[in-house]
């Protein structure tokens, strides 16, 4: 609608991620690199998916089941890549620990590992917000706005920013949960993340029906808050158990 509105939408989607970045991540160069590489990984996964789906596009936007298939394949692929990211991170962790031993510095603390996981998740979340929300936001900086049929109460840009915020939260914290689950072999955590991702993706399908976004978006936020709470509980448990061990 104007430059102010455009900036507002962008900050709505990316504000918390930016805050996290500035306070936590910008202090350590390694975390910045982690954010960039996980953003790149997400972009590559998106390109591969779009390469796969390109012959089938444009999809008939009346029917919702092609989108369901699209979401299922995309989420499956991205979760597979998360596992790959974990394997690469494990190897990197061994290298870093060996290096730390060589210069007789302390090894990676659990908080360091969780910070790296947070940085990875932030990269994914920021990439999601950038590619799904910011890249279509350019018209919002002009004089007019745009409404879609399915969600005619609020401007399209606002809806997409709100959804992007929810997904950024989900991505950021589910990476922490996932890494913790893989490192401890905790099956519940390991399954929690793909399930949450899939459910969140499917919930956006509700947006297809007219007026569906007034149901879909609150559910999405409930999922995001659930992820946040689960992550908080897990991190708190990890921190307090370490305190007792020390």
């Amino acid at each position: 609608m104007t430059v102010a509105a455009g900036i507002g939408y962008a900050l709505l989607a990316l504000g918390p991620s930016l805050a996290l970045f500035v306070t936590v991540i910008s202090k350590k160069p390694f975390l910045i690199l982690t954010v960039l590489s996980s953003t790149l990984l997400w972009l590559v996964s998106l390109i591969v998916l779009s390469g796969f789906w390109r012959p089938f596009l444009p999809l008939n936007s009346a029917a919702s089941w092609p989108f369901a298939v699209l979401i299922i394949t995309s989420v499956a692929f991205q979760e597979g890549l998360r596992l790959l990211f974990w394997k690469v991170y494990k190897r990197l962790e061994d290298m870093l620990d060996a290096f730390a031993d060589r210069v007789s510095k302390p090894r990676l603390y659990p908080t360091d590992k969780m910070l790296i996981a947070l940085a990875g998740g932030l990269g994914h979340g920021a990439a999601h917000a950038v590619f799904f929300c910011l890249s279509v936001l350019t018209p919002a900086f002009g004089p007019a706005t745009f409404f879609t049929d399915q969600c005619s109460q609020i401007p399209f840009f606002l809806v997409s920013s709100i959804i992007a915020l929810a997904f950024a939260t989900i991505h950021t914290f589910s990476m922490v949960i996932a890494f913790n689950g893989y490192s401890e072999g905790n099956k519940v955590d390991q399954l929690f993340v793909p399930v949450v991702h899939l459910v969140a993706g499917m919930v956006t399908l509700i947006n297809f029906t007219t007026g569906g976004c007034s149901i879909g978006i609150p559910i999405l936020y409930i999922i995001a808050i659930l992820t946040l709470l689960h992550c908080g509980k897990m991190v708190w448990g990890k921190l307090t158990e370490n305190q007792i061990r020390l």
């Binding site: 690199l33 979401i71 870093l96 997904f167 993706g201 956006t204 947006n207």
Partner: protein, 291 residues
């Protein structure tokens, strides 16, 4: 080198300033404008020439020169720009790595004459973590010297007239090569220097030739003329290419061209994004279906 920076800042910078003044109707008169522009250009020449200025001023002016040249390069037609970028990446690869390559000969000549390599080089001073011990200082100097080789050889002739073999402050090149040799014997594995370089251990000043900056900017500028999605994709691609180049530098410990990998990734990602990704993402987000 100084004269060419002066020309870039004065004429190219002046043109862009005139565009902006016309667009935003800034109330300024000719004479004030000329005085300000001349001062800006003159300070810029001193900033890139002498190393006595505050580093932020030098960095600012180098970025300004890079931006100005890149802006004018984006006025080329689209296909010309892409072919030019790919051709330059290939030339850079050939010029630095082949034994008869001009840039390699230049570097070897400079090393044998014990002179500094003439180039506009952007130096990124690192943020030093205060909670790291002073024992890192040794590694800091090592990493800095190693990086010098990357920056100096990615200087390219494509800069407007910056490749005149002008002698500036003599770099003690012997020390560079001997430190590099010493480094190879003392460093057990490449992980060590790699990790030092990425700022986990100590940090060193990274030097990147301004020619590389300019062509990265041209690539991203051209991508911006299509859509924002291509900008983000190309930005990430260039950063990834830079990371790969730095890792290769840590691996091979010799002069490497900085253009080819980044330009290759950038061009690849641009075309993939434009042809494949955009349709996919716009379809999804217009229907508010996201994952």
């Amino acid at each position: 080198m100084g004269f060419s920076s002066f020309i870039v800042l004065l004429f190219l910078g002046g043109e862009i300033a005139l565009f902006l003044i016309r667009k935003f109707s800034v109330p300024i008169d000719c004479f004030t404008f000329l005085v300000l522009l001349f001062n800006f250009a003159a300070v810029g020449v001193f900033a890139v020439f002498l190393s006595k200025m505050a580093i932020i001023v030098t960095q600012g002016y180098l970025v300004a020169i890079g931006m100005l040249v890149a802006y004018w390069f984006t006025l080329l037609p689209e296909w010309t720009t892409w072919v030019l970028l790919v051709a330059l990446a290939l030339y850079d690869l050939a010029a630095v790595l082949l034994p008869v390559g001009p840039l390699r000969l230049l570097v070897e000549l400079a090393i044998s004459r014990d002179e500094d390599i003439p180039a506009l080089v952007y130096e990124a001073r690192p943020v030093i973590n205060h909670d790291q011990g002073s024992g890192e200082y040794e590694g800091q100097r090592r990493a800095w010297r190693r990086r010098r080789e990357l920056g100096n050889d990615s200087e390219s002739d494509h800069n407007i007239g910056t490749s005149d073999a002008e002698v500036t402050a003599p770099l003690i090149q012997n020390r560079v090569s001997s430190v590099v040799d010493g480094q190879e014997s003392s460093v057990a594995s490449t992980d060590n220097s790699f990790l030092e370089g990425i700022g986990l251990g100590s940090s060193g000043a990274i030097k990147l030739g301004l020619g590389d900056f300019i062509f990265y900017s041209v690539l991203v500028g051209r991508a911006a003329m299509y859509d924002f999605m291509t900008v983000y994709a190309c930005y990430l691609a260039i950063i990834a290419g830079l990371g790969v180049t730095l890792m290769l530098l840590a691996l091979y410990q010799q002069a490497l061209p900085a253009l080819p990998v980044s330009i290759a990734f950038g061009v690849l990602f641009y075309f993939l994004t434009r042809l494949l990704l955009e349709e996919f993402v716009v379809q999804c987000s217009l229907n508010l279906v996201m994952f």
